[in-house]
Assembly symmetry: C2
């Protein structure tokens, strides 16, 4: 689709220009520990090397890379946050190593190729924000053939879950609709205009908002009622934009909880730091955003509500056809489709149901 840079700034980059938002990420212990350990437990990848940090934000990953011994770190940041990153590098005595470059990755030029690309590019359900495009662009342009990617691998997961969120949202939706109908009534009585012709459009607007837009949630592991499935694996060293622009997957979700209610699908991701085949890490690090009691992240999980929920039992299976593509109006947002077919342990099969969702 068409792509307007200043609209992208208004819609997307703007939030990253606030320290407040950077701080949210910097306060995510799971995220921070993973990158910290990936770097400091694998110093051989950094010592004496040239590093590129794609989207440096506050500069944290660039500073760590310098502290781990990098010879030079190019830290590219599109927003004004670049100025704070510069100040932070200086205050932490790595200003000679870390060179902050304000500009978008696609447009800046580096004086040399790099040994390592490090980046924290993951959005909700991995691909929201489409920032991995910029990492691919950086890799193809600036990474030496022998270079390594941090992280090196990424996966998307889906699981069947139970949750009260759907009832709540259905309630909100129904309240909104009954409020609409009294509004239509009042407007006719008080102002002589019949608004009922807009009821269908209003319903669609609110269905989208309350029922079809995926929700951020930090699920409890006990809400997972079946075996999660990996629906997409990405090798960060080789993936192309074409490979991630559309995600398709057919998979099975076996229910493993007694007589319960399937009320949503949950989506999350993990990434791994493994280095490359020729140049592996010494210690592999995993960053997972799966439901967890002690290790929840700011990404949480994306919840796709099912209306109505399904009664399910251990031994039942869900056959799922999943697809995700970019929203036509905003390439950083996603349109998601789930087609699900419940097969009971008795053998009985229900008709497939297709549902459309928006990751906003």
């Amino acid at each position: 689709g068409s792509f307007d840079k200043s609209v992208d700034f208004a819609n997307y980059f703007c939030t990253y220009a606030f320290i407040y938002h950077q701080k949210e990420m910097l306060s995510d212990r799971v995220r921070m520990d993973a990158y910290y350990n990936a770097i400091f437990n694998n110093k051989h990848h950094f010592a004496g090397k040239v590093v590129l940090d794609v989207g440096t934000g506050s500069g944290i990953l660039a500073i760590w890379s310098a502290q781990a011994g990098a010879r030079k770190v190019y830290a590219v940041e599109a927003t004004k946050m670049a100025e704070h990153a510069k100040a932070l590098a200086h205050a932490n005595n790595v200003e000679d190593i870390v060179q902050v470059i304000e500009g978008s990755m696609e447009e800046v030029s580096l004086p040399e190729k790099v040994d390592v690309i490090i980046s924290e590019w993951m959005g909700y359900f991995l691909l929201r924000e489409s920032m991995f495009d910029s990492v691919i662009c950086a890799r193809d342009k600036w990474l030496k053939p022998s270079g390594v990617m941090y992280p090196s691998h990424a996966r998307m997961w889906v699981a069947p879950v139970r949750s009260g969120l759907g009832d709540q949202k259905m309630n909100d939706y129904e309240t909104a609709m009954s409020d609409w109908y009294s509004f239509v009534n009042d407007t006719e009585i008080n102002y002589g205009v019949n608004m009922n012709v807009l009821s269908q459009a209003y319903r669609e607007e609110h269905e989208k908002y309350y029922l079809k837009t995926s929700l951020w949630n930090s699920l409890h592991p006990s809400q997972i009622i079946g075996t999660p499935a990996v629906i997409k694996e990405i090798d960060c060293s080789t993936a192309t934009v074409d490979e991630i622009r559309n995600v398709f997957a057919n998979f099975l979700l076996p229910i493993n909880v007694d007589r319960t209610r399937l009320s949503a699908f949950a989506g999350w991701f993990d990434v791994h730091f493994r280095g490359s085949m020729q140049n592996p890490v010494e210690q592999e690090v995993e960053l997972t955003t799966a439901p967890s009691i002690d290790n929840s992240t700011h990404w949480g999980q994306q919840v796709f509500l099912l209306h109505p929920p399904l009664r399910v039992d251990v031994g039942d299976k869900l056959m799922i056809a999943f697809s995700m593509s970019r929203s036509r109006e905003n390439h950083r947002l996603m349109d998601v489709n789930f087609t699900y077919e419940l097969q009971l342990s008795s053998g009985k099969c229900f008709k497939p149901v297709a549902r459309k969702y928006y990751i906003e």
Copy 2:
């Protein structure tokens, strides 16, 4: 400044494309009654006439104009809401009179000049959104010399108020800052990076957010502790963009409540429907957004907090120098300055204090 149309859509127009948002305005009884009465109590301005509705939204004002006997109504709307306006006109049997035109007022062409321009262009504190620019443009291009403006006049008001909002926001601000300092501490201990160099910038970010950004509030009339002042009057038939781009005023606010606390200035507006000198209304209608028990509006008032609040007493006076201009980054938002000087009834004068605010 530079002006990017697609950014303006992303930032501004987008919200108006939701029926939800139009409904909020359509549910504002004070607003609706004012326009309804202005039209139906002054049918001589509409019967047999050609009307232009600038920013028709749902089409409500255009449909009323048709119901009041207009020969033709051009209803211009920039967003997709235009399609709903079309449907609504049809459902209310005025599709032959109301011609909905999807496009921005600055760019559309009408087949004829008009007798009346009606528009609901008012934003928070009157001028936020800068939509009156589009009405001026429409007037200069399409209104017959004998034509009338609905509304015909507008005024901005300021009053001294007491409110607990300031304490609350100061509290939020202080909590945010102490949270920041423990974050700085934790980040140094856990991750070996000292973030303290960003503390000043973080403070400014949060001062702006919690203390310097004006707040929407529906004030109780008893919170007004002095005589409100009109700080700007606009004649909609003659005003130019130059006249509204910057607003300056010097005025006096006498305190008229015993031993109380001045904790903020409040700003609101009213508009009047008077027709024109040559062609006055039969019945004048006022739409006021002043603090009110029974007649509050969705505009509420804009509250500009004073830190620290001042002890004041009946008989004290505030000398105010006020200025408002458009934000450099977004011409639809405003930068406001209040310089205030307290003069006690005893004659004692305090030093003038200058404060900067943002209407976001």
